[in-house]
Amino acid sequence: MTQWLQYLGRTALGFLERLGRAHILLLRMLLGLPSLLPRFRLVIVQMRSVGVLSLVIIVVSGVFVGMVLGLQGYNTLVDFGSEQSLGVVVALTLVRELGPVVAALLFAGRAGSALTAEIGLMKATEQLSGMEMMAVDPLRRVLAPRLLAGFFSMPLLAAIFTAVGVLGGYFVGVGLLGVDSGAFWSQMQAKVDWYEDVLNGVIKSLVFGFVASWIAVFEGYDADPTSEGVSRATTRTVVHTSLAVLGLDFVLTALMFGDL
């Protein structure tokens, strides 16, 4: 029993300590942001590796998720004779939920893990220490640009995911199952609200992008500088980001759409 309590206490303390370190790191990165502004090129370069290189997986997944939505939505709606509303179903699901959430989960697996591994290996090979000794703060030179790049890339990736998903739904619904094309688009236009739906989706993806990049750079920076430590950190990035995104999604949905 006491052993169990000890274990519980140790785990809780360890968790709080890491949480504290993550916040201190975040604070130090944010304080370094002003010095990053004149060198915004560093962020652009990272947006390429974080954002552009994630495009393939985002586009392919978006098409398939949209096609499945089109198929499932049609099968349900057709029973009630309201398959004309398929466009609304597909668009709302993607804009409000699946776009930001699935894009963030894919982002964690594709870009977040890569960020963690890169920073962890830079630590293990003394590149970060080397920078410090050259009077270059790795937080400002290496971590902050990656954090910002993730923050800016995520909404763009979610938007692309959503747009491609709608096209996938259109292809299945209109192309294969015979829903009227005009109804598909006009109902979508009428029912999807700019502020209520699109803007809330964008806010979600900004939050997810921020959290996913924060977790990724923190895990990399906090990794044990060994190959085992980097591999553990990479796994933690994917697991923690996924949990954080799904948990935050509920909180944000409740705040935005729910009357809980």
Binding site: E126, Q127, M134, A135, V136
Partner: protein
């Protein structure tokens, strides 16, 4: 221990009463070291005596539990972050692995400190980088990536990067480990040549007795958190201390026993029967 005396006047680095703990383990228990200006000083000692830790303490990456570390008159542990960064611009450090930035070419690695800390025009950066690379004999390798370099070349690029900002001092962490004889000879030569040609002060952390003896003006031997002895290589070779002689001559047995402490060999074998 009495403070080391040297007749060179004001030393560049003056360490007094340095204490450093890692957990409950004492790494340094009151160490006094003087690094004279313009000289090559070596810090030697068995593995795990905290030689690399000493460099990190001088560079301000670690903070001591007690004692002072004066570098060019400034007390490193009490410096602010800005003060520390200003000091580091004047101190080059060569890490054991070279610590080159793997996503940048050789040229960009050497240009890195210049781009970060100066606002020189591109043409001047190019000239400076080529001069530094020429000094280490790798001007022709400027377009290679760090992954394409041999261990010895990577270390020479790291040396070129360390001298990019024309520092007053360079610290070398195990510069000779894992090198073939030729590249080892090159690095040994370079350290001495650069020190004298650029008017640097060099600190070498190493346990390669022969290489260090060939170029060091002064050697400190550390063991178990203390300075065991210091002097010129010649003085240490004829040291009164049996331990220092064992270390300098690389004898397998002596005051430092060959065997890890264990119970009686015969009894141990019979215990399993």
């Amino acid at each position: 221990m009495t403070a080391p005396n040297n007749d060179e006047g004001d030393p560049l680095v003056r360490i007094r009463g340095l204490r450093f703990l890692r957990g409950s383990r004492v790494i340094f228990g009151g160490v006094d070291i003087d690094i004279p200006r313009g000289k090559v000083t070596a810090i030697m000692g068995p593995s795990g005596t905290g030689k690399t830790t000493l460099l990190r303490l001088i560079g301000g990456q670690l903070r001591p539990a007690a004692g002072s570390i004066l570098v060019d008159g400034q007390d490193v542990p009490s410096l602010s972050r800005d003060g520390l960064y200003a000091l580091r611009k004047r101190v080059g450090m060569l890490f054991q692995s070279g610590a080159l930035l793997t996503d940048l070419s050789v040229f960009e690695n050497v240009a890195f400190p210049l781009r970060e800390h100066t606002r020189l025009p591109e043409s001047m950066i190019r000239d400076l980088v080529l001069m530094k690379l020429q000094a280490v004999g790798l001007r022709g390798a400027r377009d290679l990536m760090p992954s394409q370099l041999s261990g010895g070349m990577a270390r020479r690029v790291a040396i070129a990067r360390a001298i990019a900002l024309d520092p007053m001092m360079i610290m070398y962490d195990e510069p000779f480990t894992g090198q073939d004889p030729i590249s080892m000879g090159v690095v040994v030569q370079l350290i001495r040549l650069l020190n004298d040609a650029l008017g640097l002060t060099s600190i070498i952390v190493s346990h390669d007795v022969h290489e260090v003896s060939a170029i060091a003006d002064c050697i400190y031997v550390l063991s178990e958190g203390r300075v065991v002895e210091h002097g010129t290589p010649e003085e240490l070779r004829h040291s009164q201390s049996e331990w220092v002689r064992q270390f300098m001559q690389g004898l397998p047995d002596g005051p430092v026993p060959f065997h890890y402490p264990a119970c009686d060999y015969g009894e141990d074998l019979l215990a399993g029967a």
